[in-house]
Amino acid sequence: MKTIPGPSGRNPSRRGFLLIEVTAGLFVLLCVLAMTVQLLAWSGAARRELRHRQWALHEAQNVLELVTALPPDALKTDALAARKLGERAEQALPGGTLTITAEPEAGEFPSTRVTVAVSWRGRSGNPVSPLRLVGWVPLPPKETTP
């Protein structure tokens, strides 16, 4: 049996031990690299999500301001359903949707409660839990019969 010396010195009778060591090390490192790439992709997606959310928040605020400035009789859910996010939204918010609902609310000051909800396609391809803003439009006081 021939004795081949290797750098480990421990097992001088095994041939090609060095190659196995280096290959194993490279393999481990490739696994770590794959995990790093995944982490980078996840990080980029999180950043994009933050940008989308900020854009959606400001658009929702704009829409809520416009809708709450309407006269109270224009606040019917079917009429409001016709409102869309605008052409810019297709680029800024993938799969962006706008939902406006108006409901009467009784109380000390009877008003119409308006909810503006913006949703879009998130990281996983499913709609994210919608961003909601709520505003109230007071109803004009009822006229008393003379």
Binding site: L18, V22, L40, W55, N62, L66, R88, A92
Partner: protein
């Protein structure tokens, strides 16, 4: 004939090549991680700054009884009239947006700068439409390479909260 225990030169060279390949891969991935982390942190800070400017703009426009948009040498200026000689002026500068509030004839009661590094703020006007009044618009876009559609737009309606 004795065989010395040790490594041949070729084995050592092969080992060094393998180790340097591993080191190169490791260093590259660490560099990428660090730069991404830095960019994320900068982006989060910028988002906060942008939101702060947008809130200030909305609040001030809500308080305005009248407004006027002027353009001087490529920089737009929005003058908000709060009544009784009080005005708040939003001016876009290369560094960001400067806000000044003052009563006519007195020193400014408020002067604030919203720095917008890497961003470009612009003021424009939305004409009145069937169901929407005319209002000023603040656009905040990334200065480099961002298409207009992605820019943030703040469009408050003036006079919503005029103090009586």
């Amino acid at each position: 004939m004795k065989r010395r225990r040790g490594s041949t030169l070729l084995e050592v060279i092969a080992l060094m090549i393998g180790v340097s390949v591993m080191l190169a891969l490791a260093i590259t991935s660490i560099q990428a991680l660090v730069s991404v982390e830095r960019a994320n942190r900068k982006e989060a800070a910028t988002a906060l700054r942008v939101d702060r400017l947008a809130e200030s703009f909305r609040r001030d426009v809500h308080r305005a009884k009248a407004w006027k948009l002027t353009e001087i040498q490529g920089q737009s200026t929005l003058t908000l009239d709060l009544g009784e000689g009080r005005t708040t002026v939003y001016a876009t500068t290369p560094e960001g947006v400067d806000v000044t509030s003052q009563t006519a004839g007195e020193a400014p009661s408020r002067r604030e700068r919203f720095p917008m590094p890497n961003h470009r703020a612009a003021l424009s006007e939305i004409p009145a439409q069937a169901d929407a009044p005319a209002r000023p618009r603040l656009t905040i876009a990334r200065a480099v390479g961002q298409p207009d559609a992605l820019a943030l737009r703040v469009e408050p309606i003036p006079g919503r909260e005029v103090p009586r």
